[in-house]
Amino acid sequence: MATLLILLPLAAVVLLNLPMHKALNKAAFWFGVLLCLFQAILVTQAPAYVWNSCPYYVSRLVKFFPMVDSLTLVMLLSISIVGFVALLTARYSIRDNERLFNFSNLVILAFGGMNGIVLANDLFSLYVFLEVTAVTSFILIAFHGDRDALEGTFKYIVLSAAATAMILAAIALLFIVTGSVSFRSLQAVLTASSSNPLVMTAIILLAAGLFIKSGLVPFHGWLPDAYTAAPAATSVLLAGIVTKTTGVYTLIRLVTDVFAVSPTLNTLLLIVGMVSILVGALAALGQSDFKRMLAYSSISQVGYIILGLGAGTALGVAGAVFHLFNHSVFKSLLFVNAAAVEQQSGARNMDKLGGISDKMPITGATSVIAFLSTAGIPPLAGFWSKLIIIIAVWQAGHSHYAALAILASLITLAYFLSMQRRVFFGKLAPGLDLLKEACPWIIVSACVLALITIGIGVCIPWIFGTFLLPIRSIL
């Protein structure tokens, strides 16, 4: 059944682009929405045997038996939620039907690429689907074709090409040493030959490539420009799930399933995670562009995920995956709100905004929920995932990293309070008297994401048993 999650997006795009596609112009958006809902229902409702079964005709078409575990399911759910929200944002922000058709097709293709990454069980397939997602992302960022968008795309392409070269070189080196690219075979061989210089070189190259894809410091140069210049719906997709799937998820999968956990690798992850947390948070403090501030905030929050992974314990990995999911949700919510503010007011500069909470009450309220969750305020989802990460890092004997992570959370609170005050609270800025709340497409997106953020926070005892403990078992 899992194979269908790759084949369905492909079939949908082919079907939508048959010669009578003019009649299907509006259908592309609904196809995308249905695919997201189908995936979300499948992940939350389907019993385990469904994932391992495969319809006869599908197995004749593609012989592929993916390894579906708790981490895979969490990622598939995140992809469906963020994909759904990105499509609703596109419906709100792209008025022209033909452009919405093209955008929806590209989102469906990205959807297939990300599902492929999550379901891949060997390094080469992983690389192919990383490229699918990267190519669709380039086009989605450059979608409007203006100078800033092309500049952001160019930076992303150049750094992404460097990352691709590193990943491909690493795959070639690992193939030379082990004679295989499958995760299972690699794990067995790499555990026995972890001191081999070729293996070490390959691990360093893979890690560096994935750090670029994740937008971690010092490889983050492309991220603020790409997130800021991209169309609103692309920003939601990129910040919500694309960088998480191509970079962070892949890193978690390889560290837990392929590489033997080593103190050197853990130290590298801890340092990169901590530097990203601090640099991202401090850079976010100085921004006046709404989306740029959120982009730097993303770097900081991804740093927390890497910090949890660097703890090298089962609890740390569980916390990292939990924060990955939470961050997908609340960062998407913040970018959805940024899209609503930009579309309604025509401004992204926080100095030109102010007091719009009265005019846009739902956007203002959901923004408060998202920023409190990002800053780790109880009882929202972000608080629990950060708490688990900090406890895991502390228990692993890295108390100084844990203390710095707590301090950085205060910086997060500071820049989000500043954002909230400059954009939503205080006196209404001049020229915004006629401002109205965004249309239902965007309100539905914001409310769904806010409810997930609150729901996870309030239902943490249930989440702990059904979500976190199964993730711990992947180690």
């Binding site: 997006p9 690429g113 080469f124 397939s125 192919v128 669709t136 074709g145 210089p197």
Partner: protein, 170 residues
């Protein structure tokens, strides 16, 4: 000339063509340089006993990709003489770090006892490229179809935007 010597000459030619492709200031020359690089790589692949890989390299990279690049470049406007002069002066500075990287990699390879000939992986006679592609790596073909579709949408989206912009200017 021995086989090793031929390979060495081809490798040097490959490096020279690659460097020229990256460093030349003209986009068209760069595309042609890429095609030349692909042709030399094809010869190397033949030399090393990979005829199917060589055929793919020649047909796709040296042929198809070059045609796509040159078609796309033909749709762009050439740079003015002033811009080209300014660019010529600037462009070399951005490659200043390349010799440093080459020295560092060379030093690492020579001191870390890395042996790239660790394992020879002969494929069984029955496993040819067709079998590898259609039976072993069919999922990757699905991925490649997705990439091609994304590329088509890229051309549609970006070139349509360009045409719209030009029509608005008129």
């Amino acid at each position: 000339m021995t086989l090793d010597m031929t390979n060495m000459v081809l490798l040097m030619a490959l490096l020279a063509a690659g460097v020229w492709t990256v460093m030349t200031s003209d986009l068209l020359r760069s595309a042609i340089g890429l095609a030349v690089t692909s042709v030399i790589l094809t010869l190397l692949l033949f030399q090393l006993g990979g005829p199917m890989a060589a055929v793919f390299e020649l047909s796709v990279c040296a042929g198809l990709i070059t045609v796509v690049f040159i078609s796309t470049i033909s749709l762009t406007k050439p740079k003015t003489v002033e811009v080209r002069q300014a660019y010529k002066l600037r462009r070399l500075t951005r490659f200043a770090f390349l010799p440093l990287i080459l020295i560092l990699v060379g030093y690492y390879v020579s001191t870390s006892h890395v042996r790239l000939d660790q394992k020879v992986l002969p494929l069984p006679a029955s496993v040819d490229v067709r079998y590898a592609l259609w039976a072993l790596r069919r999922l990757d073909l699905v991925g490649q179809i997705l990439i091609i579709l994304a590329g088509i949408f890229g051309v549609v989206v970006l070139f349509k935007t360009k045409n719209d912009g030009e029509e608005e200017k008129k």
